[in-house]
Symmetry: D2
Subunit: 143 residues, 4 copies
């Protein structure tokens, strides 16, 4: 489990989302598998904040991301109506794959955290390919 | 299938949401059952706009809503990255149950539309009960 | 809401499934939208019992089914560990679309029931097309 | 990522399941988060094979399992209509928590594999408690 680097070059990205009935289970709390969905929504919005939609990536650049590894700890339960903040920090960015450290927070409490690794594949052949340069660049956005 | 009443007393409520990978299926479009989730997110936000969270309803007023009937037509497919507007219009509001006409639109296109009926139950006994007055009131909000 | 015809030509098909944590919500019961999934699993197994997989339909016959209308009543809650029987009865079968009446039962109790209408489309163009003959035939199976 | 122990005391348990439309995403393959659901279905059936339902555990023994850590690798895609075998092997069993190594296979191919850690909590207070003895015992079943 990687920690957020103190001197991370890219600023953390954060996405807010609300907990609905669909997200909960009979234990009265959020079903743990759904944190993977929350983490992905935040990565998708991070990508969009950089100017890329996933559909556009596929159709225009012929690139698709696939998740290859998820390592997640579930620390405290989230409940109906909670407003969560999902963070996105890049921890590795090397050619054909990227790794992220992500957290789900309610206020100051970390409810879940994990490392997610995604690989870039050709959207037709599904073979590994380099991440398009414009996407891989993670320096400060010029606005 | 009820149409939106021309002289509906309450103004239509609308909730925006984004389509993510989790919402799609191998047909390349949104999995139809997920429109029920989208409709519910919008009803939940409508309720919140009136000052009520679902969890708060349960704990403070001892009331819970259960869905008893859904009648939905799927007209056009939604795709990854689409931004949808989900509308909420009350078509019946009588004591222990409420009916809504809801649509999912992308721009001017209606992708799905349907009638959803919910009943109010006691959150402990699950027996039908009247909807709390403050919730049932659907006149104009005083702000 | 159509009832099962007394003289339905095709024998009712039934598919058994178990309720898991993933199917429930914070109300302690099955999340209503999931009955659409259960109904679909049963239709898929009905199709398989006739010799057709959905993937095979797409690749070999160029045909895909899309759900165009679902009208469902939720009568009694299902709970964790329940074993449900999902029935499939054809109520209409005319060219490019089929309708089904389906129920979810636990023992003798009907928990949910509804009418589902599906249309056949070309898997490439997504234009309506006739249901392949071998699939549409709903007389008795010769074994 | 733990490997299956060569001299594991308990025989591996396996649960078969079918891939439906609901399990797939627009990439044409199974949505990766769903493997967590598949792994849980198999653990639930493993528990049932030992004589315990999850609902019964909660009501009769006041015990509930919560997932605290999932570490999963996604190796090959599963597709519509695939029949998967989900394995369950206990890798740790110490008092108030258990760890499992699980795989999803299609024939001889491992599609996903991972380590899942669950903790036992009191179903009312949600405080950690010892796993009920009858459940924790993982020696050979006497039949």
């Amino acid at each position: 489990m990687t920690s957020v680097l103190d001197d991370t070059p890219a600023p953390a990205f954060s996405h807010a989302l609300r907990i609905y009935w669909e997200d909960t289970d009979a234990g009265g709390v959020v079903f743990y598998a759904n944190y993977l969905k929350f983490f992905e929504r935040a990565r998708t919005e991070w990508l969009r904040s950089r100017g890329f939609g996933q559909e556009q990536l596929r159709t225009e650049l012929g690139a698709m991301f696939v998740v290859v590894h998820t390592n997640v700890r579930y620390l405290r339960p989230a409940r109906l109506d909670d407003l969560l903040q999902i963070s996105v920090d890049i921890t590795d960015n090397s050619g054909a794959a990227m790794s992220f450290f992500q957290t789900a927070r309610r206020g100051d409490d970390v409810l879940a955290e994990g490392d997610i690794r995604i690989a870039c594949v050709d959207s037709t052949t599904f073979k590994p390919r380099r991440i398009p340069k414009a996407v891989a660049y993670t320096g400060p956005l010029s606005g």
